[in-house]
């Protein structure tokens, strides 16, 4: 069977139409990103995320209601893999000042209830931890254990050699879990997944991701420049920019539009970007390789004609490989589970734009450049 036998389409002749289409899509995307912004995952933004698995199915709006009552402000509540799972997310790093007294009084009550008349002293108190000091190390140990079994994250302070002080750490996740355990006594849950990222770590990851993408582009620029011609390298890298921009735009435009599709920019999505860079490059190189071959054989035929031939020759391969990879990606989107969906979606979009850009952006740029500078491309 042959899908595209002996086709002879004048791809290059239509390049201005495709420049326009790409330009419009990117412009829309950039405006959208500027207005709506991108939703970053907590690995870049910092914050806390917990996925809970309840024993019985739960009503998401009821959970939302209960979570609102805790008063932590903006806590996102979503379903997570089925009717018994929920995902809670907050950008907060610390318990807000309005809730803090509630948390502290809860701790005080707990200590006083189990140890009436205990002597204690608050050594330091901040929004992330309270340190109490007790009469001796045995009492400290005891109180620490009591608070721990009540669901607080406590330890005997590591930096006090006497062992008399107890640190109670106040975390968003702990306070959420503590409250939900109380409220869902008849439907207990287990923690499926818990992530906490400090603001500094998030910032670092963001920088690393940008460096990684930039470095990939530079390496490709150098490699293609070395193997082909410099104008080919520029064309290839512009095509890659084009792919990443369009994919990012779609992440921004479609965020929150399709239910069950979580379009946040996370570390894994950045990995998908790098993969689609690699894939799109793959396509571009195959076309370039054929162009190079034609240019070597048919030295008298104009560049535009040679390019059209090369694209027509490789078109069948481009579509077949694209299809077989696409099958895998669609299956990953459907069956790969919640965690991989955003990743697979980025690849899905990237594959389409990657295939498109290797023809209409990379090659078209090389041609446009050669025409404008009136230079002859030879190998």
């Amino acid at each position: 069977m042959r899908l595209f036998a002996n086709i002879n389409i004048d791809f290059m002749g239509k390049r201005s139409i495709f420049f326009l289409i790409s330009g419009i899509i990117i412009l829309l995307g950039v405006i959208n990103i500027a207005v709506r912004g991108l939703a970053f995952g907590i690995d870049f933004k910092g914050g806390t995320e917990i996925a809970l698995q309840f024993e019985k199915p739960i009503d998401i709006s009821f959970v939302r209601n209960q979570v609102d009552k805790i008063g932590l402000g903006d806590v996102e509540v979503k379903t997570f893999g089925g009717s018994t799972g929920i995902l809670l997310r907050s950008e907060l790093q610390e318990i807000p000042a309005t809730v803090l007294p509630k948390v502290k009084s809860r701790i005080e009550t707990l200590i006083n209830q189990s140890n009436p008349g205990i002597e204690k002293q608050v050594v330091t108190s901040s929004s992330s931890s309270i340190t109490y000091s007790f009469a001796d190390s045995l009492t400290a140990e005891k109180v620490s254990n009591q608070l721990f079994s009540a669901g607080f994250q406590t330890t005997v302070a590591a930096d006090d050699a006497t062992g008399k002080s107890v640190v109670v750490r106040l975390g968003i996740a702990d306070w959420l879990k503590d409250n939900l355990t109380e409220k869902f006594k008849d439907n207990p849950f287990v923690v499926q997944k818990e992530d906490k990222v400090g603001p500094k770590v998030g910032q670092e990851l963001k920088t690393d991701a940008v460096i990684a993408v930039a470095l990939a582009l530079i390496v490709i620029l150098l490699y293609i420049g070395f193997r082909f011609k410099f104008s080919f390298a520029i064309g290839a890298v512009i095509a890659l920019f084009h792919d990443v921009l369009i994919t990012l735009s779609l992440f921004s435009i479609l965020y929150g539009v399709i239910p069950g599709l979580n379009l946040e920019v996370t570390l894994t999505v950045v990995a998908a970007f790098l993969t689609l860079i690699g894939y799109s490059m793959n396509d571009t190189v195959v076309v370039f390789d054929r162009v190079r071959e034609h240019l070597k054989i048919h030295k008298t035929i104009p560049l535009e004609e040679n390019m059209n031939r090369a694209i027509n020759n490789t078109f069948s391969r481009t579509i077949i490989t694209g299809l077989s990879t696409m099958f895998m990606i669609i299956i990953l989107i459907i069956m790969g589970g919640e965690v991989l969906r955003g990743f697979a979606f980025a690849l899905f979009v990237g594959m389409i734009t990657g295939t498109y850009s290797s023809i209409f952006v990379a090659s078209a740029f090389v041609l446009e450049y050669a025409n404008r500078t009136k230079s002859k491309v030879t190998f």
Partner: protein, 632 residues
């Protein structure tokens, strides 16, 4: 031609064979895991029956941790376990933490007479450090300079300049990290996490991976708690051995009135005549805990690593508790020794339960080389209270041994040679400088100079991991079926060869993962699924070319040759580019993303091998027989 073909065929078979060999432990481990699960079913039923109020997930947790401990401790299962493809935290569940020394707290503590002005500057420096790459020490030094205050006002002596003080403070920061790592390593070992990873990152960070931990609160507590350094007296042989004999008798089921010493002689006499089996029956305790000195001058014993759990079970028995005085306990060395057969042993000591002194009194410790003997030693200083106590303890226990115990593990047990009146002590006997350095860290661990905060963490429950694995593998084989059918439909016979190539790609990819002891993560599985789709690319390129060449009127053989040859440059260039992005991804990614980059890179190399070598061999073989292949 045939000879060359045979060589390639052997190469292919060798790779397949090697992959299967490397993957066998993984297969074995999953079989073991199944049989252990089966064996634990009655246990699970019993737990459920005895504790009806436990939630099913709690029961699952208990069973899972039991299973894990059986699989990693039983020697029959352990080898397979160690050689299998490791699963990342996102697949098997577990915890990942990044901890950082709280330098601001450290600076607060180290400063001499910190006044309000100092604390204010420190607070500002800390706030600034939150969104800056510069570290707190540097920022503090800069701010002080801006205000015209010299660092020597709060640190060191008057004559030192700022640069020197900053350097020393940074050194102390690094020191705190090193100590924290030692404490954490020690505890994680004790907690019994299989295959933990604890690494230093940069100058102030520690990255910890704890696979299979289901109670994350407890783990977190374990990592952040106070380290307890104690000095405990080791019991003399004359005291310990009779007790050990009694334990041995009780365990063997014979309780006699004969004196313990007499029993020892008898036991040693009998020793020669007894077979191993009989000895094991008559001396259950000494079979497990082998005395280091057969003459019985020291009561230390060697215990096999795998026997430790059994021994603590035996010691917990009621009848044993009756003969073991409640003011003593058995402690193990922090490090194991390995005998020529590869068996791991731990040295076990009988010590006083009550510590003579705790580590809070130590003000300094230092590993040095003794000027006269040239051997490494560790010196330590104590504060006034500590020195007074130490003087009394050492004076009363000359020629006895005193164990240095950190969080319940013995690091060394030197003999007290004389009374130490000033607290300034020398510990000799370290085998090398590394060991001495470790002891220095341990001695200082009792008082960690600054808290170590968790700055990022990620925990995945075992059930989510299990779901991810099955989702990943289902996508894999369903995807394969779709692509395989498509290839056969489009390229007919030649398509089915490409499909064989994909199977080989996957097999080799897993083989390589196994050879590198790499970790498989969920994005890693996605990488394999993706490379299955992309693996056919090389073949598509070649087949399209063969079709073109055939259309231009070449013979089948010439078309095949040209197809493989001409496509090579495109295949090479495009894959190199993907490989380069893979390398970058691996460099900059962390955890799961690295797993993805790794499988992607391995997938590229193995798919090239499968598609270019395997498929070519099939083509050449059929060609040499004079048949043609349908390329659709």
């Amino acid at each position: 031609m045939m000879k060359e073909l045979r060589f390639r065929l052997i190469l292919i078979l060798a790779f397949i064979g090697l992959s299967l060999y490397l993957l066998y432990p993984t297969f074995q481990d999953s079989q073991n895991s199944k049989s252990v699960s089966e064996a634990l079913k009655p246990v699970e039923a019993m737990i459920k029956k005895n504790n009806p109020d436990l939630t099913p997930s709690k029961v699952q947790d208990m069973i899972a941790s039991k299973k894990d401990s059986i699989l990693s401790n039983n020697p029959d299962y352990r080898t397979a376990r160690e050689k299998r493809i490791k699963l990342g935290l996102d697949l098997q569940g577990g915890m990942y933490l990044v901890m950082e020394v709280n330098t601001a707290k450290l600076l607060e503590k180290l400063a001499k007479d910190p006044d309000q002005q100092y604390l204010d500057i420190l607070k500002k420096a800390e706030a600034e450090s939150k969104d800056s790459e510069e570290n707190v020490v540097g920022i503090l030094a800069r701010m002080m300079k801006e205000k015209g205050i010299r660092m020597s006002r709060y640190f060191g002596s008057i004559r030192e300049d700022d640069a020197r003080i900053v350097a020393r403070l940074q050194e102390q920061e690094t020191d705190a990290v090193t100590r924290a790592i030692e404490i954490i390593r020690n505890r994680v070992d004790q907690y019994g996490v299989s295959e933990p990873s604890i690494q230093k990152q940069g100058s102030r960070r520690i990255v910890i991976e704890l696979p299979g931990i289901s109670r994350e609160e407890e783990a977190r507590r374990l990592l952040q708690g106070r380290a307890l350094l104690e000095f405990k007296l080791v019991k003399d042989a004359s005291f310990a051995i009779p007790i050990m004999n009694r334990i041995d008798e009780v365990l063997a089921g014979k309780v006699t009135d004969s004196t313990a010493t007499a029993k020892t002689d008898k036991a040693t006499n009998k020793n020669q005549k007894l077979t191993d089996e009989q000895f094991a029956k008559e001396h259950p305790f000494f079979t497990i805990a082998r005395l280091i000195d057969p003459q019985g001058r020291v009561a230390d014993a060697y215990v096999k690593d795998i026997d430790r759990a059994k021994l603590s079970g035996l010691l917990a028995r009621e009848e044993v508790k009756k003969v073991l005085p409640d003011n003593v306990e058995f402690l193990y060395d922090n490090q194991s020794i390995t005998d020529p057969n590869g068996e791991k042993f731990y040295r076990m000591y009988m010590v006083n339960k009550e510590a003579e002194l705790t580590g809070g009194v130590i003000t300094d410790a230092r590993a040095e080389i003794d000027q006269t003997t040239g051997s490494p030693e560790v010196t330590m200083q104590m504060n006034g209270d500590g020195a007074r106590e130490w003087s009394r303890i050492t004076g009363a226990n000359i020629d006895k041994r005193c164990a240095v115990v950190l969080d319940g593990k013995v690091y060394t047990a030197p003999t007290i040679i004389n009374k130490i009146p000033t607290g300034s002590s020398r510990i000799t006997g370290s085998a090398n400088m590394d060991e001495a350095k470790l002891l220095e860290i341990v001695l200082k661990a009792g008082a960690l100079p600054a808290p170590v905060d968790i700055i990022a963490e990620s925990a995945v429950g075992p059930s989510l991991g299990q779901d991810s694995i099955s989702q990943g593998f289902n996508s894999g084989w369903i995807g394969y079926l779709v692509v395989a059918l498509f290839m056969i439909f489009y390229y007919k016979t030649a398509g089915s060869f490409a499909d064989l190539g994909v199977i080989m790609t996957v097999l080799l990819t897993f083989g390589v993962l196994s050879a590198f002891h790499a970790t498989l993560t969920l994005p890693g599985i996605a990488g394999i699924v993706l490379s299955m789709g992309m693996a056919v690319d090389a073949n598509v390129l070649i087949y399209e070319r063969i079709r073109e060449e055939l259309a231009s009127g070449k013979t089948f053989k010439a078309a095949v040759d040209a197809g493989f040859k001409v496509s090579l440059s495109a295949i090479f260039d495009s894959n190199i580019v993907t490989l380069l992005t893979g390398i970058i991804l691996y460099q900059f990614g962390s955890g799961p993303v690295q797993g993805f980059a790794l499988t992607l890179m391995i997938g590229i190399v193995t798919s090239l091998f499968s598609q270019l070598v395997l498929v070519r061999v099939i083509f050449d073989y059929i060609n040499s027989k004079g048949y043609k292949i349908n390329v659709g």
